[in-house]
């Protein structure tokens, strides 16, 4: 990714070996400087500081004591952390399982000269532009065990629905469904763009060979869509591991559902900003970074096996 854009940059700005005059250097630094300073203060320095904090014990009123890796050792033994890791992983898997749904929706939207494309796109995209806080509250109501419409609908077909947001065994699935509902439109837009990038002549050739539409979908569309699928899977996974808003709004902080719902970021928030154990929270953030980097690296390693680049 970086490589290709670097090459493009070289093409655009390096004409015929012209050496840039020193004045141009100064302009370059001057125009980059405001953003670079902001990133240094609000991004780079915080990264360093978070790593530093993670190696310290911090009191509620400030003051840091160097404890080495003690916070990480504590995390290893912390049952809340085990729960958070498990919940985040299950949530990520559920949301990833929703990705094929976006492909199907995108494929349906990609039908040539489909009438009402804009209308459908609006419907599917609405949750993406809606405030997560509002979404969380709405689903909390829909999921209510006593008067919620979902359990009422289930009761019509003879199923007694659980207490979705307070039963620790089902709560993460309830949140996962909302996660899919929120992201399906966003992913469908990405897939639709991917589909529109597949050259028509592949289908024309398949048509001549007499391949059925199903066969075309599995033999042409899905393989040529894999670069988009890869991007969507990576982004979905990273976002899923950072789930916070939905849990904050849907689940009671001290309710019975929380142990089954608490994500890594929720635990981070609790430790860092409710209990004010900043060192411990920083260690959680570092672990989160490590998890995301490792999982992303694995994805990039695996992509050679299934992603087709033309």
């Amino acid at each position: 990714m970086v490589l290709t854009t670097e090459r493009a940059a070289a093409k655009a700005t390096a004409p015929t070996g012209r050496r840039p005059p020193r004045r141009e250097w100064l302009w370059g630094y001057a125009l980059v400087a405001p953003m670079a300073l902001g990133l240094a203060v609000f991004y780079l320095w915080p990264i360093v500081q978070t790593f530093y904090l993670s190696l310290n014990e911090t009191g509620p009123f400030g003051g840091e004591t160097w404890v080495g890796l003690a916070n990480f050792a504590d995390l290893l033994a912390d049952e809340d952390m085990h729960g958070a890791l498990r919940n985040s992983l299950v949530y990520a898997l559920i949301v990833l399982a929703g990705v094929p749904l976006s492909i199907v929706i995108a494929a349906l939207l990609n039908v040539p000269k489909l009438r009402g494309l804009g209308f459908y796109r609006t419907l599917y995209f609405l949750p993406v532009v809606t405030m997560p806080a509002a979404i969380g509250l709405t689903w909390r109501y829909l999921y209510n065990g006593d008067f919620g419409p979902i359990n009422y609908a289930l009761s019509l077909v003879g199923i007694e629905g659980p207490y979705w947001v307070s039963d620790p065994d089902v709560v993460i699935f309830a949140i996962g469904v909302v996660g899919i509902w929120c992201s399906v439109g966003y992913n469908a837009v990405l897939f639709l763009a991917g589909l529109q990038g597949i050259p028509k002549h592949y289908y024309e050739a398949a048509e001549i060979d007499g391949a059925s539409r199903m066969r075309q979908f599995f033999r042409i569309t899905l393989p040529l869509l894999t670069p988009t699928t890869f991007f969507v899977v990576v982004i979905t996974m990273i976002n899923a591991f950072q789930v916070f808003d939905l849990i904050f709004l849907m689940i009671d902080d001290s309710g019975t559902g929380m142990p089954g719902a608490r994500s890594i970021v929720y635990l981070f928030y609790q430790k860092g900003f409710v209990e004010h154990s900043r060192g411990y929270a920083a260690a959680i953030a570092v672990v989160l970074l490590a998890i995301i980097l490792v999982l992303t690296a694995i994805q990039f390693r695996l992509q050679k096996k299934w992603v087709h680049y033309e």
Partner: protein
């Protein structure tokens, strides 16, 4: 039944699933508390419009709305200016260390946002900015994503443009402002819309940095009602609708530009 009808049926079925929570939210926002808790659920409003007035008395919703507007405008304007300046320099100017600095910018994109929160909070505390609007806006003004996005747009412009302008004696800032910026308008629009969307809805940072209800954004304001008002869904939903409507309206109006921006991140990511 033709194939086309099957497609429409499938899309409509999915669409109904997507829209039902919104419709239900609107219906309940116009009910009394008792109606909202009936079994079987009552899917009909009794037009309790006063819920939309009551929510403004339950929380300083008007103030929070204003806070959110101010912060969103500041963040978006800041992003557009700073990202476009840096992106222009990376794409059209040569200076030693350009590749290195750009790579440093990109690494920031790889790091989950939670790593920034504790130190940012300490910075705001140190500045005495807790419970201020500038604390909400300041970190959001900066970001590497927009630089990356706009750089792609600047790179796509022909190099004859700057060369001709240079020959006419224009300096880089003039080239940026008069020649390049008008040509990357689609990029600016896409970045602007995405920034508005993110900034309007973001929760975690506003939640931790401003705890005074008067200084909260809508997102944090709604979230702070969890617990206290949880039995009063009609009022909560009225607040939710007021809070989410501006971005939904913006999306419906500017749909094509926003979608194009998102599709672009997919193709170039």
């Amino acid at each position: 039944m033709s194939r086309r009808w099957t497609v429409h049926l499938a899309l409509l079925f999915g669409g109904i699933i997507m829209i039902t929570p919104f419709v239900w939210q609107i219906v309940v926002s116009l009910q009394t508390v008792t109606e909202s808790m009936r079994t079987p659920p009552q899917f009909w409003p009794s037009w309790q419009w006063h819920n939309f007035v009551d929510i403004f008395q339950t929380v300083p919703l008007g103030r929070q709305f204003l806070n959110t507007v101010v912060v969103t405008i500041a963040v978006t304007a800041g992003q557009l200016l700073l990202c476009s300046l840096a992106a222009f320099a990376f794409a059209r100017l040569e200076f030693p260390g350009r590749g290195l600095i750009f790579t440093l910018f990109l690494t920031v994109l790889m790091v989950p946002g939670e790593l920034f929160l504790l130190p940012r909070y300490e910075i705001m505390q140190g500045l005495g900015w807790l419970n201020t609007l500038q604390a909400l806006a300041a970190p959001g003004i900066f970001g590497a994503f927009g630089v990356f996005l706009l750089r792609q747009f600047f790179l796509s412009l022909p190099k004859e443009l700057d060369e001709a302008a240079r020959l006419d004696g224009a300096n880089p800032i003039q080239i940026y402002w008069y020649i390049m910026l008008p040509l990357v308008k689609p990029g600016l629009l896409a970045l602007g819309l995405l920034t508005v969307m993110w900034s309007w809805s973001s929760l975690l940072w506003p939640l931790v940095v401003n705890t005074d209800p008067e200084m909260m954004t809508l997102s944090a304001g709604l979230a702070s009602l969890r617990g206290q008002y949880l039995t009063n869904f009609p009022i909560l939903f009225a607040g939710s609708i007021v809070a989410s409507l501006p971005v939904i309206v913006l999306f419906v109006v500017m749909q094509r530009q926003l979608i194009a921006g998102i599709a672009f991140t997919g193709s170039k990511g």
